[in-house]
């Protein structure tokens, strides 16, 4: 049965790793729904957060093949209820709409806030699950949205162990001098 899975992978910050990782997915014809790459709290280590819709069996195989890459430190997969996750969305709306009193009420309901005001438009930011940012989009749409953008998912697992604890347990690279 297909489900939404969030895959996180930690890798060395080297050129080309994004390519190597996505090849694992494209080879198996798995569409990546969302992808976020960013640096972690540990210098030189990057985190990939990849969302896919597939069967657990496929996801496990893909995670193993990602973890197999020599420069990937660890890869894991989660169901939605095993993580806290968010996407961020930005909405650009005309300034004359923004001064409508409905907008203030909408922003309050969605816990959204205004992040910038420019000549002619304002930018509203909202954070949540896709359904939340999607819903705000639908609500704002009648007022006229000039531009809309949504980030990929970031997530944090509900398990206790921190990445840095795990990384500190890893051996450092060892060289043998002649």
């Amino acid at each position: 049965m297909k489900n939404t899975y969030t895959i996180t992978a930690f890798s060395e910050n080297h050129i080309g790793l994004l390519n190597r990782i996505t090849i694992v997915f494209t080879r198996r014809h798995i569409n990546i729904e969302s992808l976020t790459v960013s640096s972690t709290e540990v210098k030189g280590i990057h985190r990939f957060t990849i969302v896919v819709e597939d069967t657990e069996e496929q996801v496990v195989k893909v995670v193993n093949q990602v973890e197999k890459l020599p420069e990937v430190l660890r890869a894991e997969w989660y169901l939605n209820d095993e993580i806290i996750y968010r996407e961020i969305a930005l909405y650009k709306i005309p300034i004359d709409v923004a001064i409508d009193k409905n907008i203030e009420q909408i922003m309050r309901e969605f816990n959204a806030h205004m992040v910038d005001i420019q000549d002619g438009f304002v930018i509203i930011e909202n954070t949540g699950h896709v359904e939340d940012t999607e819903k705000l989009y639908e609500v704002l749409k009648p007022y006229g949205i000039l531009q809309f953008v949504r980030s990929g998912r970031i997530s944090i697992s509900k398990q206790k162990k921190e990445l840095s604890t795990y990384l500190n347990e890893l051996p450092v690279n060892e060289y043998v001098k002649e």
């Binding site: 195989k61 020599p70 002649e178």
Partner: protein
């Protein structure tokens, strides 16, 4: 004063290779590669460079060299077309897990991404077919990158790596200081085996009555052939091999029961579905081994031991998946195991084997009359060389027959393109094998199709006087495809029939001796002349045009549906 000890990146590449005990390189020069080749000119005494006739040949030769010598292969090519010509060879080494260090030249770093002359993005191109790759853009990086390349290529599940070196990095200077690598934090090549895994394996084996051991290429890669023998001696568990696992156990071992898969032996394929326990040792359940997965190993519990975690539960779900080096597994289980296989189970292999012997082997190896069969030549050569030659094959019928009818005795004596099935692999691989084992007889079994794909390497064979014994089975067909057309396309022989040149005459043009054999009575004499000849020798043997390789598991069929004849 400070610059006195500085050397160029090009020289650092060669020195780094020498620090890793490399003395042989297969390659081909070109514009972007010139600084490195200039250093080869002055290092000629410590590094032997084999100049091939096409980069693909260098890649296959380096791989075969690695397989027979136990050292990683090293292969050089220039930027652009030189590098892209390697791709088939890199993919071949990747699918068969062979450690080869590919070093390609690249345009100067300031020109990267500009579609400069002879620029190709080798990092992207080689990414799906390498274990690891890296683009070097400054000379200082070279020693560390080469150390990493060797570490990744040779440890864990081995595989090819590629280092792309820009011309300015070759020309730049550095203080040379080489340190090999012992461990890398993101990479664990030697997973620790758990006591609990051994306990469970022992208890699964203890409760089985019909166990079957499947030995794969991992045995050879891990250097665990003596462990495999000891385990099999002690437990009498019938041992079958995959194509790549051939020569992991001597074929005259009393509990060796044959090869698995599409053109493997009758007994191990049929009895895979009778076994109640399968121990998969360093093999990966390739589709050519398993046939229809839904009807594979239907009665068996499976213990799968592999160094690559991603192979565990990938194709076949196992009851006990052990992520370990197969050598460690055997070392841990051998002292503790007391199991003895029931004699009546072993007997079932012997009975089925006798049926195959009667219905297939006898016809292939002792046909008596009619056109020559490739099987009889291979079988006779096996006897004449006492099963001790290094056999290299091309791909197709010649490959399957060489796997079936040569009686392998010693480890790493079958060099074949298993995973990728690369036609044209044979001749360059035979060269590499001969360079790696200069004192061994190296026999190439090839077909008229595959041989013509890389025939230009006869020039290399001639130049280095590599005494490879080339046996071409000429049926004027792409035999394996023709067999499928006969079996599944009602003999519609689309584009599989080809006229061939006079191969001995072609060899003569390259300064290589050879002869043509058309009649069965000429075979023993021709084989003797070939084996006794001190240099390279080419034997063209005209064979039955429409001979088929059987037994066969038809595509989509289960292993126990293997048939002995069409």
């Amino acid at each position: 004063m400070k610059n006195v000890n500085k050397i160029t990146g090009a020289e650092a590449i060669l020195l780094s290779l020498m620090k890793e005990d490399i003395d042989t390189i297969f390659g081909y020069p070109g514009g972007a590669m010139m600084p490195i080749y200039d250093k080869i000119y002055s290092k000629g005494r410590s590094i032997k460079h084999i100049l091939v006739r096409h980069e693909q040949g260098a890649a296959h030769a380096a791989q075969a060299y690695a397989q027979v010598s136990g050292k990683p292969g090293v292969c050089f090519a220039t930027s652009g077309p030189g590098a892209t010509n390697l791709i088939t060879g890199i993919a071949n080494a990747h699918l068969d897990s062979i450690p080869v260090i590919f070093i390609t030249a690249q345009v100067p770093s300031m020109l990267l991404g500009t579609d400069a002359f002879q620029e190709t993005d080798m990092i992207s191109l080689s990414m799906p077919v390498t274990k690891w790759n890296y683009q070097v853009t400054s000379a200082e990086e070279i020693p560390d990158v080469i150390a990493k390349a060797f570490f990744f290529a040779t440890t864990g599940r081995p595989g090819p790596v590629l280092i792309d070196v820009t011309k300015d990095a070759q020309l730049g200077t550095l203080d040379f200081n080489y340190k090999s690598i012992k461990s890398i934090r993101s990479y664990n090549p030697s997973p620790a085996i758990q006591d609990e895994d051994i306990n469970q394996a022992i208890s699964l084996i203890a409760s089985s009555e019909r166990p079957l051991l499947l030995a794969g290429h991992g045995i050879l890669l891990a250097g665990a052939t003596s462990q495999l023998k000891t385990f099999t001696d002690k437990t009498k568990i019938p041992c079958a091999v995959t194509l790549m696992g051939k020569s992991a156990i001597s074929e005259d071992h009393p509990y060796y029961v044959g090869m698995l898969g599409m053109h493997g032996n009758y007994a191990p394929n049929i009895l895979t579905n009778k076994a109640d326990l399968i121990i998969a040792a360093g093999m990966r359940f390739d589709d050519r081994v398993t046939g229809d997965l839904k009807r594979y190993a239907t009665d068996a519990k499976i213990i799968h031991v592999d160094i690559d975690k991603a192979e565990l539960n990938k194709n076949v779900r196992s009851h006990l998946a052990i992520h370990a080096n197969i050598k460690d597994f055997f070392d841990r289980i051998i002292p503790r195991i007391t199991y003895q296989t029931p004699e009546n189970w072993i007997e079932q292999f012997r009975q089925l084997n006798a049926i195959e012997e009667e219905k297939v082997v006898r016809k292939d190896c002792f046909p008596g009359n009619g056109k020559i069969h490739a099987g009889e030549v291979i079988y006779l050569l096996s006897r004449k060389t006492n099963g001790e030659a290094v056999v290299v094959t091309d791909v197709g019928q010649n490959q399957m027959l060489a796997a079936r009818y040569y009686q392998y005795k010693n480890p790493n004596t079958l060099i074949t393109s298993g995973g990728l099935g690369t036609m044209g692999f044979g001749l360059p691989a035979a060269m590499g094998a001969q360079v790696g084992r200069p004192d061994n007889t190296v026999i190439l079994f090839t077909g008229d199709g595959g041989f013509q794909m890389t025939v230009q390497e006869l020039g290399t064979v001639f130049q280095y006087n590599l005494p490879v014994k080339i046996v071409i089975f000429n049926n004027n067909f792409l035999g394996m495809v023709r067999q499928w057309q006969q079996l599944f396309n009602e003999k519609r022989y689309a584009e599989t029939n080809m006229p061939t040149p006079d191969f001995p005459l072609l060899a003569k043009a390259f300064g290589i001796e050879g002869e043509l054999v058309k009649d069965r009575t000429e075979i023993p004499g021709a084989l003797d002349r070939m084996l006794e000849h001190s240099g390279p020798y080419l034997l063209e043997i005209k064979t039955e045009k429409e001979a088929n390789v059987f037994p066969m598991i038809y595509p989509g069929k289960a292993v126990d549906e293997i048939v002995l004849e069409p």
